[in-house]
Point group: C2
Chain length 247, copies 2
Amino acid sequence: MTMRISVILAPDVAAEDELTGRSCVVIDVLRATTSMIAALDAGATAIYPVAEAEDAWALRAQLGDSLLLGGERGGLKINGFDLGNSPREYTSEAVGNTMLAMTTTNGTAAMLAAARAGASPIFIASLRNAPATARRLLREGRDAVLYCAGTNGRVSLDDIIAAGAIASVCEESRSRATLTDTGKLALAAYRLASRDVAAALTATIHGRRLVEIGFEGDIRYAAAVGASQTVAQFDGLMVRVAGHLLR
Amino acid sequence: MTMRISVILAPDVAAEDELTGRSCVVIDVLRATTSMIAALDAGATAIYPVAEAEDAWALRAQLGDSLLLGGERGGLKINGFDLGNSPREYTSEAVGNTMLAMTTTNGTAAMLAAARAGASPIFIASLRNAPATARRLLREGRDAVLYCAGTNGRVSLDDIIAAGAIASVCEESRSRATLTDTGKLALAAYRLASRDVAAALTATIHGRRLVEIGFEGDIRYAAAVGASQTVAQFDGLMVRVAGHLLR
């Protein structure tokens, strides 16, 4: 039996397959999962995704000042936090060999929701590590649900393009994953965007908002499909590197 | 200001734009809206979409035996009804110069939901009259929400392909409609499907189910993009021809 790839297009939008007991990939391209992959690539050892800023402060009270706090509300750094949600802040100088707590409007909420729904394992993907994540899914060979974090509960095309990038690698593999209707829809979005991914991201609702508040560079960074070989796994508590997959 | 085209990907999935006060196009390609357009093209004068079979019977008690009853549950004709939900049943011999009451699992529910949400005007579209409907939207020049009926509350790719066919005509027009993220997603689905629309419909979840229960011919019928020039409008009570648009 081939593996099935379905997509949750936004929170509260049912995919064809339940999350319970299936592999899940949480995607928030602009920008939570892109920043998390940047942090891991820069040497952060673990990231705790938390729902609210106060949860991040509580974790710091527990784990001490070496825990860095990152995230955004309204796209901007939270007051008193060490880092915002721009992936380009997550350099090895800033986060190398540290632990982080992060809270964002859409991405961390989606990760926590996937864990509550019983998905296992849960991976975290951006466009940068989409091919590496797809190859990990293929190696595991189990049905997978790609969970798009969306923007404030609505469909966000940037996330669906990244889901399509994963679906594309899975479909082209020799194991021939089966795409459900939502999987095909994501694949179509990626194919249309793939000639110029940065332009496609910039034209999304979320992309235009980021340009308005001065984060155009983040979009170019987020658009680099395959730039990272990191596979990142969320165990329900923290996100850590689960492997670096080369072709 | 250009008109915006957004898409409700399935019931309960928010589009970027509210329905209230906007033009709306309800789409259920397999097969409710395809059958309704077939009925109007065959000379039916009005179609009452109703939620339940008992509503159809109540309407017949009120309007008399000349009212024909059509629709499906589980894809099959409802016991005692005159017609099922196969568009090829809606010939001029069967429905010419008659009034119909119809109830289907997804399509009629979506039409009634659009009316309750305050959309106005509400059009009914299939792939067959997608270009004619798009030209009507362009002529009106108002923001429009394309409402995909889905299948049992879930995303149904066949409906999104038809939404994309409408978005495609709108985007290519001189008035240059703006597509939201969901509009672009539907356009991508249509572009990927457009080389062989019948094959794309057959490969959807809903298409495969129809093949299983013997309605493969309905899929070929539904896939004929542009075969009908009928614009069909739902006034909250009944669906009637609102014009035949030629290029």
